[in-house]
């Protein structure tokens, strides 16, 4: 987040806060051709978002441990840095230097490939996460659909690692994970479809813009409360968070598909699950909580203060507020997920599938039809 800000300050700011254009201007001013400038620009947002995701994971791990401790009246990590803030870093370092064990009878190729296949789609999905009007890697037209497609690759990686471990717990965990993943994908996609229908676009930027016309009250959560609940439940299930953590239920399956993993390969799973949690929270905030939008529209504030919304300082301020709002909403949802973790007991596998297929799927369908009807009836309020 801070690095983004720094680049905002370094780059020559243009109206619209288009960092790419200003970066290109800067390099062309130094005598470089525009194609080279574009090539130099390309890796920057990717690295930035990757760093942001990793820092987000560190913060989330720390928050998870601290909030869990608070909910159970413990202290939690304390000695690594102030309030144990360096504990996730220490954990990561430990995992880095641990021996990389491949079990003797495991299938070493698939065993190595599994965690990679789990992690890569999750990281790729950050492509479409916007922190502001132009603050995203790529505003691809298929936007949110890309995320749904990419997250369907994950079960392959889970099945792969479950199978390759040559361990019955791993295999069961992998199968459970895949079953859970594909059965919750459908209501999830239907909930997203209702939002997409209202905003007439798959692009995440358009979805957020459509919600930020009149501030807080135009957020999708008020127009799609049922969709919000469905999406949140499905997102928790996709992330294998409690109460849906059956694939790694300690009491039954040791650690599910992660049982045989150690060192960096385990770290990939760990990283993947937390990046996925943050990503899901980000997408909930983008789809339903107005993304980077402030509860009061920024334009309204600037106009009432008599400032032009295109002034460079206002642009930087608005972008900063946007990033802060996105992160704030995301971490609020992460907090909610952690709170849910210590409130709800784990569901059984049959309850899980019942909930997915017999409850969420029909309700998501009804929600979709209802949204379509409302869109036809009240095109002003529901994005006609």
């Amino acid at each position: 987040m801070f690095t983004t800000l720094k680049i905002v300050l370094i780059a020559v700011v243009n109206p619209g806060l288009d960092l790419e254009r200003s970066f290109n201007h800067l390099l062309q001013g130094m005598g470089l051709p525009s194609s080279i400038a574009h090539l130099l620009w390309l890796p920057l947002p990717m690295l930035l978002v990757l760093t942001a995701a990793l820092i987000g994971v560190l913060v989330t791990v720390w928050l998870e441990r601290k909030i869990s401790a608070a909910a159970q009246q413990r202290v939690g990590p304390e000695y690594a840095g102030a309030l144990g803030i360096l504990q996730p870093m220490a954990d990561g370092l430990k995992l880095l230097v641990k021996e990389d064990i491949i079990p003797h009878k495991a299938d070493s190729l698939l065993f190595t490939l599994g965690p990679i296949l789990v992690l890569i789609p999750v990281i790729l999905s950050w492509l479409i996460v916007p922190f502001g009007q132009n603050l995203l890697i790529s505003n691809v037209g298929i936007g949110i659909f890309l995320w749904i497609a990419l997250s369907s690759i994950q079960p392959i990686g889970l099945l792969m690692s479950g199978y390759a471990s040559n361990n019955k717990y791993s295999l069961l965990g992998g199968l459970r994970a895949a079953a859970q993943s594909i059965s919750y994908e459908i209501p999830l996609a239907l909930a997203v479809l209702a939002v997409v229908m209202m905003s007439n676009s798959l692009s995440t930027v358009d979805i957020v813009n459509q919600q930020n016309t009149t501030g807080l009250f135009s957020w999708n959560i008020f127009r799609q409360p049922v969709g919000f609940l469905i999406f949140w439940i499905c997102a928790l299930a996709e992330c294998e968070r409690l109460p849906f953590d059956l694939p790694e239920a300690e009491e039954e399956l040791v650690a599910g598909y992660q049982t045989e993993y150690a060192g960096m390969k385990f770290a990939l799973f760990y990283l993947g699950s937390y990046i996925n949690l943050i990503l899901s929270s980000l997408l909930v905030s983008i789809l339903y909580l107005g993304g980077w939008g402030f509860p009061i529209p920024i334009d309204l504030i600037t106009n009432s203060l008599g400032q032009s919304p295109n002034a460079p300082v206002i642009q930087i301020l608005a972008a900063t507020i946007g990033i802060i709002m996105t992160v704030f909403k995301t971490y609020f949802l992460v907090f909610l997920a952690i709170l849910l973790r210590w409130t709800t007991p784990r569901v059984r596998i049959d309850q899980l599938l019942d909930l997915g297929w017999k409850f969420l799927l029909p309700i998501a369908l009804v929600n979709l039809l209802f949204t379509a009807a409302l869109k036809l009836a009240f095109p002003i309020a529901f994005g006609g």
């Binding site: 909030i67 401790a69 608070a70 909910a71 009246q73 413990r74 202290v75 709170l339 849910l340 409130t343």
Partner: protein, 204 residues
């Protein structure tokens, strides 16, 4: 048709009440978050054991008359009393006494039955050792004074829940001289006890 709507209504009601209970549960979890941790950070902080704590047994060699009552009352006849009969004085002469704390269950029977009170329970509980044979205490080890939590300068001694003032749950940052809830036997005057006895007598 009526039954279908009835079913649908019941289903909706169930779903709503389930959601309500979920929110209730979340509220409870949230409420727990503002409570202070009850953690006692062990090597740095220690709880003061209660007055009747049954810790490591202390033994005074000089008081012992080698009667072996402790051995007889022990559930597993654990104390080893090594004595010889002095033929001239016709008295038992104690040579060694030992208790294996790896086997002892700290029931306190020996302490209770000892005729000369040479056995007593201490508040020492840190008996970890690298070798279980180190837990077999002889009379010298048994005669050592117990380590004391309150006198150790490197340890913050915390009061247990029963020794805190009324309504206080947290031993941290508590005034050292704050009274415990209720009264000590010494604080209860003889008069009140007699009054109580009298009232009990009247009833019967």
């Amino acid at each position: 048709m009526g039954t279908f709507f009835q079913k649908a209504a019941d289903y909706t009601k169930d779903a709503i009440s389930a959601g309500k209970y979920l929110l209730q549960g979340l509220a409870v979890t949230f409420d727990h978050m503002r409570r202070r941790p009850i953690t006692v950070q062990y090597p740095y902080e220690k709880l003061i054991p209660s007055e009747r704590y049954r810790g490591r047994i202390h033994y005074e060699f000089d008081k012992c008359i080698a009667c072996e009552v402790c051995v007889r009352v022990c559930p597993i006849n654990l104390p080893v009393v090594d004595w010889v009969m002095n033929k001239e004085t016709k008295k038992k002469e104690l040579r060694n006494y030992s208790i294996d704390f790896g086997v002892c269950i700290f029931c306190g029977n020996c302490v209770e039955y000892c005729p000369t009170n040479c056995l007593s329970m201490t508040e020492e509980y840190e008996l970890a050792a690298f070798d279980r044979h180190n837990l077999n205490f002889d009379n010298v080890a048994l005669g050592r004074l117990p380590t004391n939590v309150t006198t150790d300068p490197s340890v913050i001694a915390l009061k247990e829940l029963a020794y805190l003032p009324k309504g206080v749950m947290d031993p941290h940052e508590l005034d050292k001289n704050s009274p415990r809830a209720g009264k000590l036997p010494s604080e209860v005057s003889v008069k009140t006890i007699e009054n109580n006895k009298a009232s009990v007598g009247e009833k019967t």
